[in-house]
């Protein structure tokens, strides 16, 4: 008994050593866990920031305009000429502008407010309606409710992103009296106490003499600017609507922190857009145009269709060039090539090629395809060829690994029944390696899909407003579009860029999903 007890109890030194080893084991496990958590955290931050931005760009505000399609305005040449109607942007835009002026007659007064009101809708935004009417000319002369996207700055304002403001509910207004020129005095006992408190907070930290914050007061469709605010009364400068709306109401006050001169939208525009919203003419709808429109200089009209089609065409060229050449090269190198210095030289260089920065391939493509072979600039054909150059070492390396993983017993089995080497390779080895080969090829393609740098050098960064109809048309691709949008100054491009990134990621996920699917479906055990 004592003997066994002695042997099962390690000596003190051994016990200490054992403890140290266990501690090292545990530490390593914690390091791994920390690393994984850090990676997951980074991923979550990325997804959250891009996702929340993209989500705000996934919807936008459109305004409804009830217009009469006056034939004299929209079809001066006659309703039977659809091409003319579809091109008549001025006519349709005129209808929309007239409708806005009808709604807000106060804008007629001066040129600045007329321009501010007509900024609500971009001229080109009426193009879809024009095309729709051109396709059904029987609507000419009738009344329709047409919608057009709201100007991007106002859209952002309605989403609460464009302008920093604070909304405070005012108390009961008891009296509205005219006060001098174009002004009113609104009174109500203690109506503005909450607003005063809010203003005190908003003005903290502002230098004396700096522009005061703007305060807007809204009741129904009417909005005015407040000055001379005291606890029980304030002076109201009416921006839109009727002063009578304020009497016996509990209006909403908005403290707008940035002064009017520093904003992209004026107080008047805010007043109008709030009125349109109150009238129920502004609606927040899914932004399908992101997928159906092409690039535009106006964020509210911009979409990624041309870039998506361009990316697909480019990938098609890349796949058609890189996959067969890469896979066959891998099969030759792995199964047929004699092992000697020449083969080794090729192998080393292919591996090196995979590590070459992608922009170098762009330079090569520009020099070889465009300057030397005279292919068209900015075309998916050239882009695809450049990306094929970049992809194909990846395809070769992945395919060789897959071929190497096929057990030699399959080869000997086929050879032993008298298959030639080529029959052995193509009847037995390649089918077994196919899932791995396809995985490598698709992952290489996915990398190419997200590539920007080499395409910049062959001119695919150009502004492309039309969907390319073939691989030689001028085109751009998704990552390059993201790059161009992110360079734009207006704030509305920021969420749009995120939305485009999400679309690109969706395509990448689709490709990776395809890889998983192919693996599951065709992976065979041997």
């Amino acid at each position: 008994m004592t003997d066994t007890a002695r042997t099962s109890t390690p000596s003190a030194a051994a016990a200490k050593h054992l403890k140290r080893r266990r501690a090292a084991d545990g530490r390593f496990r914690y390091y791994g866990l920390i690393a994984i958590l850090a990676a997951l955290g980074a991923l979550a931050v990325l997804v959250l920031t891009i996702g929340s931005q993209a989500l705000s760009a996934a919807t936008y505000h459109v305004v409804r305009y009830d217009v009469t399609l006056d034939p004299a305005v929209i079809a001066p040449e006659g309703a039977n000429r659809p091409a003319d109607i579809a091109r008549n942007v001025d006519g349709f835009y005129g209808l929309v502008r007239d409708n806005l002026l009808e709604t807000f007659p106060e804008a007629e007064s001066d040129r600045v407010s007329r321009r501010e009101l007509s900024d609500f809708v971009t001229r080109l935004a009426v193009l879809p309606t024009a095309k729709m009417i051109a396709n059904s000319p029987e609507l000419v002369g009738g009344d329709i409710a047409m919608t057009a996207p709201l100007n991007d700055d106002l859209d952002l304002y309605l989403k609460g992103q464009g302008v920093r403001e604070r909304k405070i509910k005012a108390g009961q207004i008891t009296a509205v009296a005219a006060d001098g020129q174009a002004g009113y005095r609104v009174t109500g006992a203690g109506a503005f106490d909450a607003l005063m408190a809010g203003l005190a907070v908003a003005n903290v930290g502002r230098a004396k003499g700096a522009a005061q914050v703007d305060v807007l007061l809204t009741a129904g469709v009417s909005t005015g600017r407040l000055t001379d605010i005291t606890s029980g009364s304030a002076r109201l400068e009416l921006l839109t609507g009727k002063a009578a709306d304020f009497s016996n109401s509990r209006p909403a006050a908005r403290i707008i922190v940035s002064p009017e001169a520093e904003r992209t939208i004026s107080d008047r525009q805010i007043a109008w857009v709030l009125a349109l919203k109150e009238m129920g003419r502004v609606e927040r709808v899914p932004r399908w145009t992101l997928l159906t429109n092409s690039d535009s200089t106006y964020p509210e009209l911009a979409g990624g269709l041309a870039a998506i089609v361009g990316s697909l065409l480019t990938m098609l060229v890349t796949a058609m060039v890189a996959m067969p050449i890469g896979i066959l090269a891998a099969v030759y190198l792995e199964e047929f090539a004699p092992r000697n210095r020449v083969t080794e030289f090729f192998e080393v260089n292919i591996n090196n090629l995979a590590a070459v920065p992608s922009i170098v391939f762009g330079l090569l493509g520009a020099a070889l395809y465009i300057n030397f072979l005279g292919m068209p600039r900015s075309a998916p054909l050239v882009g695809g060829l450049v990306l094929a150059l970049m992809t194909f070492p990846v395809v070769i390396i992945a395919s060789r690994a897959a071929l190497k993983a096929v057990p030699p017993s399959v080869r000997s089995g086929a050879l032993a029944v008298g298959a030639s080497q080529m029959q052995t390779v193509f009847h037995h080895v390649v089918p077994l390696a196919a899932p791995g080969i396809l995985t490598g090829a698709i992952l290489g393609m996915a990398r190419a899909l997200g590539e920007t740098a080499p395409l910049l050098l062959i001119g695919m960064v150009a502004f492309v407003g039309d969907v390319p109809s073939g691989p030689t048309d001028e085109s751009t691709v998704m990552p390059v579009l993201i790059f161009s949008w992110s360079n734009n100054a207006e704030r509305a491009w920021e969420p749009l860029t995120s939305a485009m990134i999400v679309i690109l990621l969706a395509f990448l996920l689709l490709m990776n999903g395809l890889v998983v699917f192919l693996r599951r479906k065709y992976e065979r055990r041997w």
């Binding site: 000997s412 008298g418 041997w526």
Partner: protein
């Protein structure tokens, strides 16, 4: 009906007419094999009689597998392996440049240590060889070849209802018999077996040994084995390899009961190897 009778019922068209005397099917003269600079086989000369099983025994690394692979030129596929000497089949040296190894391998079938059915259906495993060699005229012909081969390998009764199941779904012993059927399907004259039972359990091994005994009536069989009992049970002739030399070659009975060489006796009694 047991498989032995099944075999007997099949017509003999697969078997080529041969002389009744035990003429050597293969005649190897002065075979030397090199892997790069290293010589694996030293000047081996031996013959393999038709319709008999010859066992190659010897310790690991003695060159018996290498020698076996000379007989269907599988060594061609190994980088920097070089074979010298003459191997005569029907008076032709199979190492001649004008012998097509693809044709040779259809005459000399091979079964490997680890069952290696193709990851295809049972049917396609058998049909693959006849297809690439153009042995069948049409589907019915191919069906007949598949059935005949599976019957000869004693596997027909077990798989006839699931010919479309993958070959890899069979048990190890069945897989090995499938590989034997696959080798038979291309109508070989010689079957080489490289330790065909080393990955199998004793019951599957017994089944394969029975099968070898049946196949002996039609083919010249060469089997490499590590099991002395197996060599004694299935073979008529035995060659003992050691360090790339054939130490002793003779009737199996004589080798196991009365070896002429001291090294052979030491090996078969388990004193080394």
């Amino acid at each position: 009906m047991d498989t032995g009778q099944g075999t007997a019922m099949i017509d003999d068209s697969l078997t080529l007419p041969r002389a009744a005397e035990a003429a050597p099917r293969i005649d190897c003269r002065n075979i030397k094999v090199y892997y790069g600079q290293a010589q694996a086989i030293h000047d081996v000369s031996m013959t393999f009689p038709d319709r008999a099983v010859t066992a190659l025994i010897g310790p690991s690394g003695c060159g018996k597998s290498t020698f076996l692979r000379c007989l269907n030129r599988m060594n061609d596929t190994i980088e920097n392996c070089r074979v010298e000497g003459e191997i005569l089949m029907d008076g032709e040296n199979i190492n001649d440049a004008d012998i097509d190894p693809v044709l040779l391998r259809s005459r000399v079938g091979m079964v490997f240590q680890k069952p290696n059915p193709f990851p295809k259906s049972i049917y396609d495993n058998i049909a693959y060889g006849p297809r690439i060699h153009g042995l069948a005229n049409g589907r019915e012909d191919l069906d007949a070849i598949v059935e005949k081969s599976l019957r000869r390998a004693g596997l027909w009764e077990e798989v006839k209802d699931r010919l479309t199941a993958p070959g890899t779904s069979l048990s190890g012993g069945q897989q090995q018999r499938l590989c034997i059927a696959r080798a038979i399907a291309v109508q070989p004259e010689v079957i080489l077996m490289d330790e065909p039972c080393s990955a199998l359990d004793p019951i599957a091994t017994a089944r394969i040994e029975e099968l070898i005994d049946e196949l002996r009536n039609r083919y010249c069989i060469v089997i490499v084995t590590h099991s002395m009992q197996q060599a004694a049970r299935v073979s008529q002739r035995t060659a003992f390899f050691h360090l790339g030399h054939v130490v002793e070659l003779g009737d199996t009975n004589q080798i196991f009961t009365n070896p002429r060489e001291k090294r052979t006796e030491d090996y078969i009694t388990g004193r080394f190897g």
